[in-house]
């Protein structure tokens, strides 16, 4: 069973219907220098998929390829493809903005705009135009409840978002992502700047969100990865570029990994 899970993803059969994201032969180049090489991944729906690896191997770069945010860095070039629900996100007539609505992202540091809490939550919604203005207050309440922030901010929705603590700001950012109704949420070390209590709150949210969304989580916190993820990909540097050295279910990677690079990276966490 475990052996089957440890098989390279590229050798798996044709896309299963429940596959949400599939990364096919993806490489990222900076000029002629490869940063990521030949990445294959398959991410199932309503799964927390973890990406781990040493610093600087290209985990965040890979994450940004999954919703084409990588295109904001003009010197990087992407080859290969990412399929979202079976359709390419790179070779498509669909606007890139729509792809980013469907595949949202939560960053390492909370990025709140210098506006009120209310306006921050609606920042994406008001530009999409898919939720009528009348429903905006309901939307704000719904998503703030979803991220367990409603009780803390209900009485001060029109105060600056910068007045919130860092943990609250990160939950506000998550609420802002949820407000545009994404199907996938990419999380780039979402708790690395947070205290233990806020980290626990975000982890609890991830568990809840998993029932409705597919989550791709990059984290350096191995305890968190073990607690939250269903499936894992470990990226390490080979010949100067990041490659997926192992992709398997979480327990298999932590307990039965056969890759020396993974064993070395996980060290005492195994």
């Amino acid at each position: 069973m475990v052996e089957a899970m440890l098989k390279p993803v590229s050798s798996l059969p044709v896309l299963a219907p429940q596959t949400c994201l599939a990364v096919e032969e993806l490489s990222v180049l900076s000029g002629k220098r490869p940063l990521l090489r030949n990445i294959h991944l398959r991410i199932e729906e309503r799964q927390v998929f973890g990406i781990i690896g040493p610093s600087g191997v290209g985990k965040s770069t890979l994450l940004r390829c999954l919703n084409r945010l990588i295109e904001l860095t003009p010197q990087l070039r992407v080859t290969g493809d990412v399929l979202f629900q079976g359709a390419s996100i790179y070779r498509t007539a669909k606007p890139v903005d729509q792809i980013r609505v469907e595949i949202g992202m939560l960053f390492q540091q909370p990025v709140v705009f210098p506006k009120s809490i209310y306006k921050n939550v609606l920042f994406g919604v008001r530009h999409q135009g898919n939720i009528p203005r009348k429903q905006w207050p309901e939307t704000v309440e719904r998503v703030l409840r979803e991220v367990a922030l409603w009780k803390e901010v209900a009485h001060r929705l029109h105060e600056p978002a910068t007045s919130l603590s860092i943990g609250q700001q990160q939950r506000l950012c998550l609420a802002r992502v949820l407000a545009v109704r994404p199907q996938v949420i990419l999380m780039d070390e979402p708790t690395s700047a947070l205290d233990p209590a806020s980290t626990e709150a975000i982890e609890e949210l991830i568990r809840t969100l998993k029932q409705q969304h597919t989550i791709v989580l990059v984290s350096h916190n191995m305890g968190q990865v073990r607690r939250l993820t269903d499936y894992l990909a470990c990226i390490c540097v080979r010949d100067g570029a990041g490659e997926v050295v192992e992709s398997a279910c979480c327990d298999a990677v932590f307990e039965k990994s056969q890759s020396q690079e993974v064993v070395r990276f996980l060290g005492s966490f195994r």
Partner: protein
């Protein structure tokens, strides 16, 4: 001044956005920067003569507030553009990334993130530009200003205005006349005070921009 500010604001916003957001090619970005620094280095008398040839000679406007306003607007264009470009480039990259990840397209990011947060750059550039324009004589002496006899503009053609720097210039030439010297020093004091106030108001805004650029 209002005309100069309007012309310069529109052009500097367009140039700054072109350079920082819409043009990907570093070579084109360098060309825009080079053009701005070249305009900044042009002697103001050259502006005056070229402006006179174009507005009076080609367009036949005569001495007009519009000619002077456009010329002053072009003169302060580099000051305003560079201040705005600095501000946009100092904006934390996370803001544009966060907005893009919420599905905003480039124009929406410009309108809802870049411009609102760059307003301080535009403001400080405007104040410094106005301070410079307030002291310029050469561009307006041929195209817009008269010493006396001007009324509120009734149209565009042959519609000159009175300008403080030109007033000082003429008084300085006539300072041997009794009473002219006192008026000269009075006008000079008013102009100096105007420039000083504009520069002092712009200073804290510029310092805040630099501080943010340094610390992110």
């Amino acid at each position: 001044m209002v005309t100069a500010l309007t012309v310069s604001t529109l052009l500097s916003v367009a140039l700054a956005l072109t350079k920082t957001i819409y043009v990907g090619s570093p070579r084109l970005q360098r060309c825009i920067a080079l053009g701005l620094y070249t305009i900044n280095g042009l002697p103001s008398i050259v502006f005056g003569i070229v402006g006179m040839a174009f507005f009076m000679g080609v367009l036949g406007l005569g001495k007009s507030w519009l000619s002077g306003g456009i010329l002053l607007g072009l003169m302060i264009l580099p000051t305003m553009s560079v201040a705005l470009i600095e501000r946009i480039e100092s904006l934390p990259r996370q803001y544009t990334e966060a907005a893009a990840s919420l599905g905003l397209n480039r124009s929406q990011i410009v309108w809802s993130v870049v411009l609102p947060q760059s307003a301080s750059g535009l403001l400080s550039g405007s104040l410094l530009g106005l301070a410079r324009a307030a002291g310029e004589t050469a561009p307006i002496m041929f195209t817009a200003a008269v010493f006396s006899g001007a009324t509120l503009p009734q149209g565009i053609r042959e519609s000159p205005v009175v300008a403080l720097p030109y007033h000082i210039f003429v008084l300085a030439q006539d300072s041997f006349q009794p009473g002219a010297e006192a008026r000269l020093w009075g006008a000079t004091f008013v102009l100096l005070a105007l420039v000083l106030i504009l520069s002092l108001v712009a200073l804290p805004v510029r310092l805040a921009v630099h501080e943010e650029a340094k610390h992110g």
